[in-house]
């Protein structure tokens, strides 16, 4: 009866002197997985504008219906989203928008740290989605 108790003490003492496996979160971070789906971003075209052609496929495929698009045509007759709103507070990060996109305009990013005090800040517009590209080199 005594030997197992002493063995237990030996095990815990061994662990006591081993190095903790904790990652000290705000200071050090574990990089997200290769296929991690974080906050979306827009890919830019040569003119520095969005590649999005406002086809509306992402809006249709989105399960939580967090994408809203209004379509317009520019002077060259090219379609672009005059309004593109992605409500990040409702997004479930399923990645369907990225899969559905025929022109590879929207992508799931790697960023997962986003906290705001107000809800309306989570409403991502075209500009905000283009800015988000900076977080995903």
């Amino acid at each position: 009866m005594i030997i197992p108790l002493l063995k237990g003490l030996k095990v815990t003492l061994g662990y006591f002197f081993s190095k903790p496996i904790t990652t000290q979160y705000p200071e050090e971070k574990i990089p997200p997985a290769k296929r991690w789906r974080g906050i979306q971003y827009f890919e830019k075209d040569e003119r520095g504008k969005t590649k999005c052609v406002a086809c509306g496929l992402c809006m249709i495929v989105c399960p939580s219906q967090c994408i809203y698009i209004e379509t317009a045509e520019d002077e060259e007759g090219k379609r672009y989203p005059s309004t593109y709103e992605l409500d990040a507070s409702r997004c479930i990060f399923c990645g369907f928008c990225e899969e559905a996109c025929p022109v590879k305009a929207i992508f799931m990013g790697k960023n997962y740290e986003w906290v705001e005090e107000k809800r309306d800040v989570y409403l991502m517009t075209t500009e905000r989605l283009l800015e988000e590209k900076a977080n995903n080199p």
């Binding site: 003490l9 815990t12 006591f16 903790p20 904790t22």
Partner: protein
């Protein structure tokens, strides 16, 4: 004039011992969390100051500012008094612990003895006060008007009765060997190196003392009164704010006292482990030995699971009590035969 000096000495000693004990208690909570953390391969508190060293103060501030709730169906007077009973009992035990030899204040011939009270029934006093502390737990659980609290306090009462017997009997061997209840004499009887310590003459009693001591201070694996998993904190379930903190402090102060008593009775108190090491003050030796015990108390908490209630009772009455009796008989027989 002599009397005035004596009074000043006493007050200074009281304040120093009280402050020291409180600091030890505060940092014991830090040590416990840190050691448990490292045993579980995590960091433990490390956000408040370097290595989390300011954590106890942060906890104290938090405890002060928490809302102090008294349940409507509680017996209010008893509810308020019971944490006080706990902390007072836990602190006043320390009055008779000799934590060092004596020294002369430089420039005078005034001898300061490093103990608050050197009474000739020291051990009796300790056990009396320690059992008094259990009233705090029993009354606290009962008066909070909560079923879990009541169950916790009933368990505390049963456990105290079962283990106090074995605890008292386990140290009688030491008393037989040193022929005294006075703690300073028990320490003096162990002078002259570690081979004279009682732990070598009373190894069984030492182990039994540690086990019963753990049960007495309601510590894992015997923390029945506050079993988190089944009683949701047991006797202190309705306590919040500083009242809870008092229970907490009492528990840790009691732990320090149990460790200090183990050092005094079995590990030669302030005596150095070898006469050649006598140049280091006895107080330092006392602290080192005490630290070993405190570390062990925390270490075993990180190791052992809680016993089931009936197992604890069975273990107390059917294993510990017979063992202590046999140990006592053998010790008495040997001492009698040696003359």
């Amino acid at each position: 004039m002599e009397l005035l000096y004596l009074l000043i000495e006493l007050i200074v000693k009281c304040v120093v011992v009280f402050a020291g004990l409180m600091i030890v208690v505060a940092y014991l909570t830090w040590l416990e969390r840190k050691v448990l953390g490292h045993i579980q391969v995590r960091m433990g508190p490390n956000r408040c100051g370097p290595y989390g060293l300011l954590q106890p103060f942060s906890d104290a501030v938090k405890a002060f500012f928490k809302e102090d709730l008294i349940p409507e169906r509680a017996d209010k007077a008893v509810f308020v008094i019971s944490p006080m009973i706990c902390i007072i009992a836990a602190i006043s035990i320390f009055a008779v612990i000799p934590f060092g030899n004596q020294f002369t204040i430089p420039g005078t011939n005034w001898v300061v003895k490093l103990r608050l009270a050197d009474i000739d029934v020291g051990l009796l006093y300790i056990f009396g006060i320690a059992s008094l502390g259990e009233y705090g737990i029993v009354l606290g659980g009962w008066s909070s008007g909560n079923k879990f609290g009541l169950a916790g306090s009933l368990r505390a009462a049963a456990q105290m009765i079962s283990y106090e017997v074995a605890l008292g009997l386990s140290i009688i061997g030491v008393i037989i060997l040193s022929q005294s209840l006075r703690l300073t004499e028990i320490v003096s009887a162990q002078a002259g190196g570690f081979w004279n310590w009682n732990v070598w003459y009373q190894p069984v009693a030492f182990v039994l003392y540690i086990i019963c001591g753990l049960a007495e201070i309601n510590r894992t694996p015997f923390d029945m009164p506050e079993a988190e998993s089944e009683l949701a904190c047991g006797f202190n379930i309705e306590y919040s704010s500083m009242k809870f903190a008092l229970f907490f402090m009492a528990e840790y102060a009691h732990m320090v006292t149990m460790g200090a008593l183990a050092v005094t009775l079995f590990w030669g108190g302030w005596q150095p482990p070898h006469p050649a090491l006598g140049f280091i003050p006895g107080f330092i030796w006392f602290c080192i030995k005490l630290f070993v015990f405190l570390f062990f108390f925390i270490w075993q908490r990180g190791t052992y699971p809680r016993l089931r209630y009936d197992q604890i009772m069975k273990f107390g009455w059917k294993v510990l009590l017979p063992l202590t009796l046999v140990n006592l008989l053998i010790t008495a027989l040997i001492v009698a035969l040696k003359g």
